[in-house]
């Protein structure tokens, strides 16, 4: 085996990938499966884990293109060069390009098995260059192998483990619990974990991911929460932006984290009592900061609390039942935020638009209304 200059490698084990486009030679699901399987070849023998993104920039961007396709290395039509990939690094680093003029297949010999070509290219994306071992996956010349019985040759195992070490899971060939599927913002049944503004952007949280939507961008950008806030929890309960612009609070079970930029504010995480909530509250469902009144609303089950940020105390008369203020809500609030003077409460697969002062309900919208699906 061989590696690139200075043993170039990723400095993290959680990597993201995104399939930017598809080849017409195979169905989309066949391409998805081939790519996923090709990445798992390397995950099985290292601590590396791969998560798929459906928008935004991933570490490994995967695309099909013919001839000149946007980098300085044009493809050459059918035959000869099948694909290429770039060694680990920012920008184009890690990306894999497949020559659209080739015929890619799921497992047939008539054409090139995408799984085999992709597994080889991802070796480059992770830091391996070519091997002169004829039996190695990283041998530069394509060799047909049945993807259903493929086992990574020892030369490649030694190569990739020289960079990342072995898989800490003892028996990697026992199916590991697969990471939950990447949530799809445009799934109409999606129930978001939390929503907040952040300096004019809107952030929508689900599981380990969040989407950020700016007034200018058409499609929201999907990222891993820990890419932006390395010390943040995932699958959070609630989030809100405080009156101090750029300061965001994330809630999960009995704790709250505060971030300015990507940095965790010293002293955090704290317990929920630090924002005035009674000790008996084990978790909250949603939170929002009301710009007009300077109050922070915490939604817990069928009630909500009003916290005065300035006086650092809970307002009298709270908690109140939701239906004392918000008409039309079918159940508990799962996410909440304010935008351009309106208050948006998510409950189940719908978002309810209110005027907080009057409690008047204006519109009932789908959860992904702001996600431009």
């Amino acid at each position: 085996f061989s590696t690139f200059e200075n043993n170039l490698k990723w400095q993290k084990n959680s990597l993201t990938y995104r399939i930017e486009n598809y080849t017409p030679d195979m169905s989309m699901s066949e391409v998805d499966d081939s790519i996923e399987k090709a990445l798992q070849v390397w995950a099985k023998v290292t601590p590396l884990r791969f998560t798929r993104l459906y928008s935004g920039t991933a570490d490994i961007m995967i695309s099909f293109g013919g001839r000149a396709h946007g980098d300085h290395y044009p493809f050459d039509g059918p035959g000869s060069t099948l694909a290429h990939a770039f060694s680990p690094g920012p920008g184009i680093g890690g990306d894999a390009h497949f020559d659209e003029d080739e015929t890619f297949t799921l497992r047939s010999r008539k054409g090139f098995v995408l799984f085999m070509v992709a597994a080889h290219e991802f070796g480059h994306s992770l830091g391996l260059s070519h091997s002169d071992d004829r039996s190695a996956l990283m041998y530069p010349v394509y060799t047909y192998k049945n993807p259903d019985t493929f086992v990574l040759p020892q030369d490649d195992v030694k190569g990739i483990q020289s960079l990342y070490g072995p898989n800490p899971v003892k028996n990697p060939f026992v199916a590991e619990p697969q990471p939950p599927p990447t949530p799809d913002a445009c799934d109409s049944t999606i129930v978001l974990d939390a929503v907040t503004t952040l300096q004019g952007e809107m952030l929508f949280f689900k599981d380990s991911f969040f989407w950020r939507s700016t007034p200018s961008s058409r499609t929201p950008q999907q990222s891993l929460i820990t890419n932006l806030w390395p010390k943040a929890p995932v699958s959070i309960d609630a989030a809100y932006e405080s009156q101090q612009p750029g300061k965001i609070f994330l809630f999960k079970r009995q704790h709250v984290w505060a971030f300015t930029g990507s940095d965790l504010v010293p002293g955090y995480p704290k317990s929920l009592t630090s924002v005035g909530l009674p000790r008996g509250v084990k978790n909250i469902d949603a939170a929002l900061y009301d710009v007009d009144s300077g109050k922070t609303l915490f939604f817990v089950g069928n009630s909500y609390f009003s916290y005065d940020d300035a006086r650092k105390t809970m307002d009298n008369g709270f908690p109140k039942r939701l239906d004392q203020t918000f008409s039309g809500l079918p159940g508990k609030v799962t996410a909440a935020f304010q935008y351009r003077g309106f208050t948006y409460l998510y409950s189940g697969p719908h978002m309810f638009e209110y005027n907080l002062k009057t409690g008047r309900l204006y519109r009932v919208l789908r959860n992904n209304y702001f996600l431009h699906c």
């Binding site: 099948l82 694909a83 080889h120 070519h130 002169d132 530069p140 010349v141 394509y142």
Partner: protein, 85 residues
């Protein structure tokens, strides 16, 4: 007299051009100058030997049918050996 017909493999000018393109792409063949040229070792021959060594072919420094056959196989577009580094 017995005449042996030696099957001389035809390496055409086109093959040579193809091989040069291949060596430029995968073995960093450049229009070299310097000591090796002055010693008469052509850059192409030097790179051919490098390629033949990498692929376990007979190292002749000249373009033969086996070497050409490997060059014509479908492959990855990333350069080989030290070049990739």
């Amino acid at each position: 007299a017995v005449v042996y017909c030696m099957p001389v493999s035809e390496v055409t000018a086109q093959d040579e051009s193809f091989a040069e393109t291949y060596l430029k792409k995968f073995f960093n063949l450049t229009e070299e100058s310097g000591p090796s040229v002055r010693r008469g070792i052509s850059p192409v021959s030097k790179k051919l030997s490098e390629m033949q060594k990498f692929f376990g072919l007979q190292i002749t420094g000249t373009l033969d049918s086996d070497t050409l056959a490997v060059m014509k196989k479908p492959r990855c577009g990333v350069p080989d050996g030290t070049v990739a580094r």
